[in-house]
Symmetry: C3
């Protein structure tokens, strides 16, 4: 397992970590398998979305803010209930197929760390699981 | 890794791909493992939900439209910001346990490709990872 | 694959299953790998969130109720359309990295079974997939 350290600079910020994950996967020499990219936090998630136009993730952040506003009738006393809720709505991890040491991302797909309660120092865990070479699936 | 090609016919459409995935998994002869079903797109996702009554996925589509309407105050200029947002809310992939060459779906569970910006030609990647036979977990 | 049986007592209830999963994983003696925790139902999900202050999951349940109310204009006739929708929004499963027989959860992370249409008897499937010991990734 590998760890990626991320320093976020805003309360809500999506950080493109595609290249850092791709390098880890490339160095692993895995032929067939999956990469699990996992946020070890409860107020931050991981998602896959377009990385060509930054307006796409801006729209995603704004829509989540509209649906789950920071100020609301929450019981949790730390002022970050919205961050916890957004993390569970977006999800804590993504699982991406790997072939020949490459992430099998679609043309426009990038992997984003989704900060919902920054700025903070964060950790993303990357676990790679390779399929056995002799599985008939890969023949 | 295998690829499933899907042609969607509407802007928003949930396509039941359970049978196609089940056949791939059955042909793999995997005893213990997981199947990762992955949408290689940024305006389409994958989910698991009831496949007995089609009203269930209709309600899901309509509720997502209500929460994230097509017309709204979005920055992205292509008119499909809602599609990107719904994809990240539903998720890009599902991971299903496999035993003895079978998807371990619950009684009412089906696997749906979730088109949010069709009609289009789409690709779903299916990666199967088998557990080692000698793992004590499976003894 | 292992099965965890859960009896829920309310219509909406988040059950902390962290300890039960951790014990299964610990008994597996897996050095490097992943654990997939999977709800075999269409009106219940699985998520990871804070397990220190129970107000956090209460806020999450209440916010989902606000966004997807039980009473609404739904087509499905069983009165539990909201439960199906919440299950797909939260997700059916989580995948957690495993190292040296331990779930690599962050400090505040717990694994929750998310009942949206209880009380019921429920099943959570736990599949563990170990990485090969000789993968250079783990050297």
């Amino acid at each position: 397992m590998k760890t990626i350290n991320i320093s976020t600079r805003s309360r809500v910020q999506f950080v493109d970590i595609t290249q850092r994950i791709a390098e880890l996967v490339s160095n692993s020499h895995v032929n067939h398998g999956i990469a699990v990219i996992y946020s070890a936090h409860t107020t931050a998630g991981v998602t896959v979305n377009e990385n060509a136009d930054p307006d796409v993730v801006a729209d995603l952040m704004n829509t989540l803010d509209r649906l789950v506003p920071r100020r609301g009738q929450y019981a949790h006393g730390e002022g970050n209930s919205d961050s916890h809720i957004k993390a569970s709505m977006i999800g804590l991890s993504v699982t991406v197929p790997v072939e020949n040491g490459q992430l099998m991302l679609g043309t426009w797909q990038g992997i984003y760390f989704c900060e919902f309660d920054g700025p903070r120092s964060r950790r993303v865990l990357v676990q790679l699981v390779a399929e056995k070479r002799d599985n008939p699936w890969n023949a």
